[in-house]
Subunit: 110 residues, 2 copies
């Protein structure tokens, strides 16, 4: 049995997002992500082979989808992003930091 906290400390020593794998078993990866103002590089789009469920737990962020939909996320907001739905992170709140929980798993065929 393993335990931890999503709102605990994280290293602030870099310009990168902090990504902490919490669980990686049976094809499912659960990650804690702490963003401090980072955004996807210009022109970059995520195009993932896996389904992703992601929830924003602190801070704020704006996602953009390839069909130009915008999603402004506040704490508690979640989104289920099927594999190959192209998206990018337009902005994240730096302070207080933006905390995400992401669940990646093999793309479902149903």
């Amino acid at each position: 049995m393993r335990t931890g906290t999503l709102f605990g400390d994280f290293p602030r020593d870099g310009a990168e997002e902090f990504v902490e794998p919490l669980v990686a078993r049976g094809g499912v990866r659960i990650e804690r992500i702490v963003s401090t103002g980072q955004a996807s590089p210009p022109g970059f789009w995520y195009d993932q082979d896996e389904d992703e469920f992601v929830v924003l737990l602190a801070g704020a962020a704006r996602l953009r989808f390839a069909d130009d939909r915008i999603l402004d996320l506040k704490p508690g907001d979640w989104v289920e992003i099927p594999a190959h739905v192209r998206h990018r992170v337009e902005e994240t709140q730096a302070e207080p930091p933006t905390v995400w929980l992401a669940v990646h798993r093999p793309a479902a065929r149903d």
Copy 2:
């Protein structure tokens, strides 16, 4: 693409916990649970065939494991409970309500 919020309203019309399935694809079930003071019945133990990752996002709760370990959860605290690790919910905070996010998936063999 589906969206929602974990901190939104929930029906308060019963004595039961509110369980909202968010995702059920590819063998993975992600649920939002809102507890308002409920606890496991006396003598009851969860003994699950699946692995469960659960995080408490609001409120407070106390879990007990069959080896008598106690886990007091505050917002942000998560626990990974492998299949067949027996546990029960000793108490949950009623007001403000206790909000959980649970990720169930087939037991890993690694």
